[in-house]
Subunit: 409 residues, 2 copies
């Protein structure tokens, strides 16, 4: 059944990142019409209509990269360097995965409370899938492949696991694939996973150049990773699995791929992603980046390469909060751009660009988009010029959340 | 009456920033002895003793720079540039001051909840003084002078106001003075306020070079401030009130002064502060700095100048939270140093260095220091090497707070 909601401020999250005053939306499962709230109520006098004063109405957020399976973590992993962190994950990660259902439930609840309606979930064990299906969230679940040596057996098991995930697909849940990272996936294995994605028309995701250690290794087979394989994986591969970053990028040529992190990608590497990969999207996780490598994504560089950026929380394996609002504030603090401009990048990175990265028909207030809408109330009205920034600074918990037109909060 | 508390981790916050395991403190109003918890309980078997598992015991924090009077503000001021912000404060500041008692009460409560035991409060109207006196907080109240032209009448009124504050002094509340900033205080007026501080043996505080606009103006009488005096203050002074930053610094020669912000101070200016000012302390307010100028304090530069740095919240006039813990996390996000090193600077900046800046006998766990102690509980024990960082990441609300040995929370 159609209804109307309106608010003193509406963020369309379209390309121009328009902010409108006293605007509203007519919607059922999809958005039917967008316009001046009063005019809409006059045009559709029979519809239930509600206006939110001192509030912001905007698309529900998209959190395009998170690891629900690590939701149990608080302080089991070491922060301050990527290598220290990776070592601690290999040593302590197993324990974190145990009995994590309750923690995942909390993580899902944190998504909804922060106004998130869709997630990109990296999964190794599919522990979160049923919880996601039971929740109101839309999810793209990226089954992740890890393996630094060739193993047909491992590949077969992975394909079987992917079939298991595929069988769980429905309107709200899409199966997708992830190639963990250049330092952790052997090339033939990666190519097989990418082929599987092509065959099944699935999205792909990969962690990419999130540390100096990784860059040094991938480009020159040097540095901390020289001892990694023997020490942690008891494998005797002492050379990079790829002939440089380009060798890795080029595998993704005919795909739709989310490249996650990228702080150590040169302008040339980013341009190569843009030119070689059919549908390429960058994801940044500022809090995680601060904790591990200490380096933020270079937004000037991504702009020059013509790539859009989504902001995502990563998992509690490298964060203290799964609220996307907390993450957007971390984004504002860790990037040095003029603040009002940065606020727009943050907002679009959590809406429009996240939707495009996950190939979802939401993230924008426009007719025919899925009616994934959120309302945040404040005690006062923000002035239009400052509205996006003040919203990002002060928004804590969603007041009203509609997903597919259905009220969820 | 003496008692003992101990915790699985104790942060002494001494010069070496020592972290000790299973340590404890014997205290009454002051700290009597510090040592291994078990040994203390054996040495003082008659004392009440309590040990906190999975917890951190540390000195109560010192928030050395805040403006309680602006606690009503949420979104009335413009962020994204210093000049925009200053204009909005001049236009809308008056309304924010109205009926702010309740908001100040909340602000005081936020201090205590985040483990703060002492504050440096900049005050223009002394609205907060009685509320501070009624609270368990120790406070240094800096009565602030503002005035860009000479006025003997204004000076007399200010001196009378300072006497009023002086009369309210007690063990918990100290009167001090603030010279607002180089762009807002005429030199003879500043010199008079500084003389008043010397005569009354009071601490001083001043905002200093927190924006490029201020630097440009103070050094070259150029830029945005050229029109400031006429536009906002209806005054016809179109030249800087000082012959450069050094001219301003030198006025503070024989004083104990807190220089607040300093992001646009050159290494030379910082060295001059160090060499010319008898007791000089730097205060940084990272969230405020991000919102206004977008520039963080250069910690390498402050180190080279030999100046210690305290981290403080500033007021809600340029922040979204008065929790010092939120501020310390903002500090970690806005500075680019190796994270474990930065965490130590943050911790000492909220304890030891804050105490020295406010000339208080606390901020450190050591015999004879005031027993201002806090305990934060966590569900797990942090490993020693990561303890300070993990504490700063995860601490939200104090579990136990003793001020002058008296349990407050």
């Amino acid at each position: 059944m159609q209804e109307i909601i309106g608010a003193s401020l509406v963020f369309l999250c379209n390309e121009k990142c328009e902010v409108l005053e006293d605007y509203g939306v007519v919607f059922d499962e999809k958005i039917v019409e967008v316009g001046d709230y009063k005019s809409l109520t006059l045009k559709y006098p029979h519809l239930k209509a509600q206006f939110f004063e001192n509030s912001v109405l905007l698309p529900a957020f998209i959190n395009a990269h998170t690891h629900f399976e690590f939701s149990n973590n608080k302080a089991s992993f070491d922060y301050g360097s990527f290598s220290g962190w990776l070592g601690s994950v290999l040593n302590n990660g197993g324990a974190i995965l145990e009995n994590c259902q309750g923690a995942i439930q909390n993580a899902i609840s944190a998504q909804l409370k922060s106004g998130v309606g869709s997630v990109g979930a990296i999964s190794n064990h599919l522990i979160e899938v049923n919880l996601l299906k039971e929740s109101p969230l839309s999810a793209v679940v990226f089954l992740e492949f890890l393996g630094s040596s060739y193993s047909l057996e491992k590949l077969k098991a992975f394909e079987a696991k992917f079939k298991e995930l595929k069988d769980l697909e429905d309107k709200k849940l899409k199966a997708a694939l992830a190639v963990h990272a250049p330092y952790s996936v052997q090339k033939d294995m990666a190519l097989s996973v990418i082929q599987l994605a092509k065959d099944s028309q699935s999205l792909l995701s990969t962690h990419f150049l999130e540390s100096f250690e990784e860059l040094e290794w991938v480009e020159n087979s040097k540095g901390w990773f020289e001892n990694f394989y023997q020490h942690f994986l008891k494998e005797s591969n002492f050379k990079s699995l790829y002939k440089g970053a380009n060798d890795y990028i080029d595998m993704f040529e005919d795909t739709h791929t989310l490249f996650v992190h990228n702080q150590f990608a040169s302008l040339e590497a980013l341009k190569r992603i843009k030119s070689q990969v059919k549908n390429a999207f960058l994801i940044t996780c500022p809090f995680s980046n601060r904790l591990l490598s200490g380096q933020a994504l270079d937004l000037e560089r991504t702009k020059e390469a013509g790539l859009s950026v989504s902001v995502a929380t990563d998992g509690l394996s490298s964060n203290i909060s799964l609220s996307l609002l907390d993450e957007l504030r971390a984004f504002l603090l860790t990037h040095n751009m003029p603040l009002l401009e940065l606020a727009k990048i943050a907002l679009l990175g959590a809406t429009r660009h996240g939707a495009k990265a996950l190939a979802l028909n939401n993230g924008e207030i426009e007719a025919n988009k899925r009616a994934d809408l959120s309302v945040f109330g404040f005690g006062e009205k923000f002035i239009k010029e400052q509205a996006i920034l003040q919203f990002l600074l002060h928004a804590k918990e969603v007041e009203r959340l509609f997903l597919g037109g259905k009220r969820v909060i």
